[in-house]
Symmetry: C2
């Protein structure tokens, strides 16, 4: 199980998957095991012709070279939990915490109750549950280890709120069933309680996986296809292969909470929106192309001699030409409430994984902060970074190569 | 289309359903159209052997004798929107509001964008979207019509918060996809904005429909099977057949926000919990039986001469012997946040439909308030009542028989 790709291949072909199949739209049934290829390959934009039947009992492996929940086909529901270690926590306390939470994650993701699970019946349906751990700078400080990650530099567009930022330990909980997520979150929080305090929780959702073919790009609440360009080669772009031995096979995670001003976005017409993004809203095709996965032609000019994809269009500013340097985006929508006047607190929990934040994430974010037409409608209100250790062997625990 | 039953039968057999089927656990595919019977028939407790494949394109009919979203097999996600009419709203304003929102609901539930939909792409996947309207006492007052519903009497256990209570107009939005719910909510709120202010929104979730056989009882966050005893005969128990002509074919809705104290619940052992409820936690069987749907034997005594199902067990206090007088429960879980100390704001959005609140709901609620062991762990913090008009004909609008 050397990569997320083979993890998926194993799952698709293995005996642990109780149900894998779908029905074509005309009602004829077809068994359609997930293809043994990476989810993020570039292919034609998928349509809804073959929804995947998702079973409540479907299981994602926990043990492996990489943590699950990164290359995993995104589940419909996520909660991101930011924990702060209690003052005075030392390496021994961190080890105990990680052993405890790893044990919870290993059991719950496989559809077994956690130790002393108070609602064991709620553990029976993992629904592709993954629980992924990330270490923030504060955890390394407490453990007396040099941190491989540091808070992002300040960007001019940021309006960061402390209650959505930072954190010593990230626990990312994803599943296709919201009840599964609620139960797993509760077990993790209870077991962490003696060691850490909850700094924040961020709940997100995407189009249900069962509603779409694997690899279909999700739409965010602005209506855009979000996540079209993801790296194909995770071994280069995502998994760390150099630096400290304990982090090899791991990655880094950037979480940015991005509020959308849907009020003013809705007031903009479609031409302005497509101009802003550089893509068609309906197909997701670049303004110079016809299909979502067409390569944008950034040099093409219109009749007046201006670029068809504007200089400050989002896709031009976000562009990374070397596929090996692309970040893996796995975003979720959030929609928290509606004020009396009808305005909503909605946006995107932007989550990216990359081997090197400084080389891959920051240059893009800097270009976007300096000039992206989309900044008119979006505001980063939270920011956090974590080192994501590799997966562990059966009987191991997340972080053991660093802290054991 | 005289009842929710035939509505479902029509859907199961009709050409509007793009995908209907499931896969058995061993991988053999079977097409399993929804049975042309009511969802709430008493049958053996369903297991997870035949998850239903749910398509993002699946459609619930909008026009009909009854509003959808009541007899409809519960979708995975719901948001309940409580609106207050702007001061001075008269009958004409209410009519315009209802015409507008009916038009939105008719389009969106059928997978078409609302008029002037700013994110039309998000309307393409209705995922069994239903939008259901209820009229609160304040709407009737503004329209100059005698209200058929009134706020519930105060119960001793209530700790009601105004921000979860009351409301002139309820809009219940349910779908199997959270993105669909977010988009429909936004369109409704935007179109209502000139006429009404948002009083509250309550978001809830259940086990995903695709993960369970139709009719499977959901578990709430306490781990209990919740909603085992529902009426079989909706024509008697739910749909109004007497009183004002305009309300016939309609019903009434009681919404109670019930906070769960999971901290102390988790501290109770399983014997105490099962004693409290009167059912086994694992199977949902009554303490006197072996399967979820077994009839409880309230007269059976244990060796010591005490009732096996205690006098103040929840199922004894909630019992309604006449099936025609039972309320139709369609509850959702809520899980809003986690405090720094790990305690959660979780509970149940209890929603019931019944032909007569005074005759069906209040006696049960009174018995529960007077003595239900479960009260130790639950607190009603919100309460609202609505009259739910019947469905409307193509071209009609919800409430037209009252206000046209």
């Amino acid at each position: 199980m050397a990569s997320g790709i083979s993890r998926r291949a194993l799952l698709a072909g293995g005996a642990t998957l109780p149900v894998a199949g779908g029905l074509t739209r005309d009602g004829a049934s077809t068994v359609t095991p997930a293809k043994p290829t990476a989810m993020h390959t570039t292919g034609p934009a998928a349509t809804h012709t073959e929804p995947t039947a998702v079973s409540a009992r479907a299981v994602e492996p926990f043990d492996g070279a990489h943590q699950a929940g990164i290359a995993t086909e995104p589940q419909a529901h996520a909660v991101f939990l930011g924990l702060d270690l209690r003052p005075g926590s030392d390496k021994e306390a961190i080890v105990r915490l990680l052993q405890l939470l790893t044990d919870d994650a290993r059991r719950l993701t496989q559809g077994r109750p956690a130790l002393a699970d108070t609602e064991p019946e709620l553990a029976a349906d993992p629904a592709r549950l993954t629980i992924t751990f990330g270490f923030g700078p504060g955890l390394f400080a407490s453990a007396g280890v040099k941190s491989p990650v540091a808070a992002l530099p300040a960007f001019s567009i940021d309006r960061l709120d402390r209650r959505w930022s930072g954190g010593d330990l990230l626990v990312q909980v994803c599943a296709d069933d919201p009840v599964t997520v609620a139960h797993a979150l509760r077990m993790v929080v209870k077991d962490a309680r003696s060691f850490a305090r909850v700094r924040w929780t961020q709940r997100g959702f995407r189009r249900s996986a069962h509603a779409h073919s694997p690899g279909t790009t999700q739409r965010n609440l602005m209506g855009q296809l979000d996540g079209t360009v993801n790296p194909a080669d995770l071994d280069r772009a995502v998994w760390i292969s150099e630096g400290p031995e304990w982090l090899r096979g791991g990655t880094t995670l950037v979480l940015r909470r991005i509020r959308m001003n849907l009020e003013t976005w809705d007031a903009a017409d479609r031409v302005a929106r497509e101009f802003t993004i550089g893509r068609r809203l309906d197909t997701g095709a670049p303004l110079t192309g016809r299909a979502e996965r067409d390569e944008p032609d950034f040099s093409r000019l219109n009749r007046l001699g201006f670029p068809v994809i504007p200089e400050y269009a989002h896709i031009r500013r976000a562009r990374v030409n070397d596929p090996g340097q692309r970040i893996l985006r796995r975003p979720y929508n959030y929609d928290e409430g509606v004020a009396a006047d009808g305005s909503s607190d909605s946006g995107l929990i932007f989550v990216s994984y990359q081997a090197d934040i400084g080389r891959q994430f920051i240059p893009v974010q800097r270009r976007l902060a300096e000039g992206d037409l989309l900044n008119e409608w979006i505001t980063p209100v939270g920011s956090a970074v974590f080192a994501v250790p590799p997966g562990c062997a059966p009987g191991g625990w997340i972080g053991d190569r660093l802290l054991a």
